[in-house]
């Protein structure tokens, strides 16, 4: 079995009001010097086979078709 992690983040230049709110709240908790905060998503995906090449191709297709909205988001795939 393959365990993979997909990380989806907002592209540079896309406004992230949730990240901004978190940044503000961290400042309010007394954490000085917090720069920009950007919020993203993590998906842990299990695949029922052990073919790494196939897993990479499939996960990329999953990101393109569903997990990420490539208009506004980038994605990265990590295979354990």
């Amino acid at each position: 079995m393959i365990k993979a992690r997909v990380i989806v983040t907002l592209k540079n230049g896309v406004l992230d009001p949730q990240g901004k709110a978190i940044e503000h709240a961290l400042g309010g908790l007394g954490f000085d010097g917090v720069g920009q905060v950007r919020q993203g998503k993590v998906f842990d995906v299990e695949l029922g086979h052990s073919d790494k090449a196939r897993a990479e191709a499939d996960l990329k297709a999953m990101c393109e078709k569903l997990l990420a909205n490539t208009v506004i988001e980038n994605y990265a795939v990590e295979i354990a």
Partner: protein
């Protein structure tokens, strides 16, 4: 003219939309369920608002991958008119039938109020019964209506007159780029908009500014 309404789990504005279409066209619309792979022969398909699939992953993302949306895409490619309102707009964008994306409101708040809209293009199948530049009232109710498109896409939309409705008089409720409230595709047969014209079609609603949109699309003279 015949119409159809797409029904998906989690939508909640379907009843209002069916009532509006029935009242304006004089006949009830056909209904299409999420698993339907074909849509009857109609002139207009409407995807109403709500919270399809609980807004999981991204608003409209799951709905956009359902068989009914593939059927909508086929009809749209044949030139059938399609309107997506609110969650319907989010679904059309996720399905790739309209460009751009709808992001969280910059206020981070769900906004439920009336706004002013400018008819930015009155020369579309959906707006021909409005006057160019006409300012209309329309309710909005959404959490993710902040329209975004990259600079190139935005320039193309503006250049082609694909921006159909803009928030007017400082009423932009969500931070939408260029005050965009509604757009059409490049062929002009698919409209997506965040405001709810179906909720302003009779005197009991307190106004009828939304009526001309459906009358335009259904080919009813002003």
């Amino acid at each position: 003219m015949k119409s159809a309404v797409v029904l998906l789990p989690g939508l909640n504005r379907d009843r209002d939309m069916i009532a509006a279409l029935t009242r304006i066209s004089g006949q009830p619309p056909a209904t299409v369920w999420e698993t339907d792979t074909a849509i009857p022969d109609v002139d207009l398909i409407v995807i109403p608002g709500g919270f399809s699939y609980g807004d999981y992953l991204r608003c409209g993302a799951i709905a956009a991958r359902m068989p009914a949306l593939r059927a909508v895409a086929e009809k749209a490619a044949q030139g059938v008119m399609v309107i997506g309102v609110c969650n319907g707009f989010q679904i059309l964008v996720e399905a790739g039938l309209l460009p751009g994306a709808l992001m969280r409101n910059t206020s981070l708040k769900f906004v439920c109020r009336e706004v002013k809209l400018e008819v930015a293009n009155a020369n579309t199948a959906f707006t021909r019964n409005y006057r160019p530049g006409q300012i209309i009232r329309c309710p909005v109710a959404h959490h993710d209506g902040n329209y975004f498109a990259d600079a190139e896409t935005l320039a193309r939309l503006e250049g082609n007159g694909q921006v159909v409705f803009r928030y007017a008089e400082g009423t932009n409720p969500n931070g939408s780029i260029n005050d965009i409230a509604g757009i059409v595709n490049d062929k002009g047969n698919v409209l997506g908009m965040m405001p709810h014209p179906e909720n302003l079609i009779e005197a009991a609603h307190g106004g009828t500014d939304g009526r001309a949109l459906f009358e335009s699309a259904l080919g009813i003279a002003a």
